[in-house]
Amino acid sequence: MSNILTNQIIMNFELTEEQIMIQQAARDYAQRELIKDVIERDTKAEYPTHHIQALSSLGFMGMMVDPIYDGGGMDTVSYVLAMEELSKVDASVSVIVSVNNSLVCYGLQKYGNEEQKQKYLKPLARGEKIGAFLLSEPEAGSDATSQKTLAEDKGDYYLVNGTKNWITNAHSGSVYLLIAQTHPEKKHKGINVLIVDKDTPGISLGPHEDKMGMRSSDTHSVMFTDVKVPKANRIGEDGFGFKFAMQVLEAGRIGIASQALGLASGAMERAVAYAKERKAFGKFLFEHQAISFKLAEMAVKVENARNLCLKAAWLKDNGKPYGVASAMAKQYAADTAMEVTTEAVQIHGGYGYVKEYHVERLMREAKLTQIYEGTSEIQKIVISRDLLK
């Protein structure tokens, strides 16, 4: 029966000392460092090289990886707290963090073999290398089963041909987790996942995508022309790729849900601060019910989004099924991010429409959370299917 309908509730909201420390560390870094150049990097679409280095040395790039593979050994609840704080200020940085942590490192740690972990997971967890996850194609986004990129079995290697689209960290990253079709007749059961070094001959990048938001993260299409990938770089058994992608996206959704949460809570904090300092018609904005009710509605939505994110994380940390919970968190938090950032711009009036006040950027960034790592519509498919179980 559906987990939603059985409604087993969890009721311990107290964070541990360590979780609070991680939340503060992320908050300190975001409020002290990211804030300094976030507007400039957004305007110039400039990659945050020095921030990623600093976050690596603080351990944020592989924070959930087991310490034996050079990770931070933290739980998913800590990850949600860190993602929210970073995303309040800079969602470009947080998406780089999220892809590396919850897609690439998570996938390698959970399903990679020992050799793959030693060679690839360790430098990724240290942040010396950055990972990218290559699933979307020009004609396969939400419809991930119709992969056209081919990985032909040539004995001791795969020969890869095809194009991947919208790849976060495509340029900055050097370790690719590539989803490609080996046995088209088997449909999604013929798909494999391969670890590909970016400098392998035959890989080329399309131009830097000129995006609406998250402009400081690098997004490209990636073309594969007769790229040879050793068999040893396949993760799991032959045909495991689609299952791998779905499992990893289940975890990844928690990262993007927390990013959306941060965009919403960051916009709300700015709206509250502005409503306390700006006067109109002789009263502070928050003394106008039209504004204070908007703020109250924002607060409820942010609180709900936070609870959903933390619950999904808690389920994952405790080895319980979390796929539906993470879908709910992602769908709700992403829609909340869009609503709350839009209202935050509204509360700021004209000031909200200029870059200096940050909220317009948060609004542009919020839109992407409804699209990537499973659109809001895909999340509703996941949730509704569970209801029919």
């Binding site: 000392e17 360590e18 420390m21 991680i22 944020f60 924070m63 310490p67 931070g72």
Partner: protein, 247 residues
């Protein structure tokens, strides 16, 4: 060389301050606690000294006087990089009481850092008292500190300039802003290692506080500010003379 950094457990600097009904105690309900900002800078400088090439610093110990709920603050100091923490299990009744408790073990250290004040009660007293009790050198308002052999080179801000002193060890340095650039953010590895570092709990020695709090008062709310345009000098004079009656 062994360094001791005194760590105050203080309310987050954005806390809304409230007192109990008879105004004799701070209402700590719902307060988030942090390392006293000056102590956090002191710890950062201690870490820098330890990490410097050719450093003779072997260990950094942090200490406070407080109940079990202050251990979060000490563990953050361990996460930032201190090697060991000591907590004297008592309420920090006043500066003399706290200094007496710390004096039991502070004498084992070559260099002791104290923040110039705590951001809660601004007492400005523990460091000086402790140095007196230990009978060691102390310098106040230190904004720079370097170790050169057995000498410590200390920079102090003085009125209109700065002063450089050479002091011999052991030394208690009462530090202020400038001692380190910014407090350190603990790394994930440090947070993880803080679990395994020693946190020793000592029972307090018998001591009496020398002061007692009679009452707290909140500052008067500031009167509303009125802005007068730069071309409104007449209006300003009128307001100062006839309304505020200060002319």
């Amino acid at each position: 060389m062994k360094i001791l950094v005194l760590i105050g457990n203080v309310p987050d600097t954005t806390t809304k301050i409230k007192f109990n009904a008879d105004k004799t105690a701070f209402d700590a309900n719902g307060v988030q606690w942090i390392i006293n900002p000056w102590d956090e800078l002191a710890l950062t400088r201690a870490m820098e000294l330890k990490e410097a090439p050719g450093s003779t610093v072997e260990t950094i110990v942090v200490a406070n006087v407080g109940r079990a709920e202050t251990e979060g603050t000490l563990r953050k100091a361990l996460a930032i990089g201190a090697d060991k923490a000591i907590r004297v299990d008592a309420d920090p009744l006043d500066a003399a009481y706290v200094a007496t408790q710390l004096a039991r073990f502070a004498g084992e250290f070559d260099l002791v850092f104290a923040g110039i004040e705590a951001s809660d009660y601004n007492g400005n007293a523990v460091g000086g008292m402790l140095a007196e009790m230990l009978g060691i050198n102390s310098v106040s308002a230190v904004s720079g500190l370097n170790i050169e052999g057995s000498q410590v080179i200390v920079n102090r801000e003085i009125d209109g300039g700065s002063q450089t002193l050479g002091v011999s060890l052991p030394l208690l340095a009462i530090v202020q802003k400038g001692i380190a650039k910014e407090p350190r953010i603990p790394a994930m590895r440090g947070i993880m290692m803080a679990r395994t570092k020693p946190l020793e709990v000592l029972q307090p020695v018998d001591a009496q506080p020398l002061t007692a709090i009679r009452t707290f008062e909140m500052p008067q709310p500031k009167a509303a500010c009125r802005k007068i345009g730069e071309d409104q000098a007449k209006e300003l004079i009128y307001l100062l003379r006839d309304e505020a009656k200060v002319l």
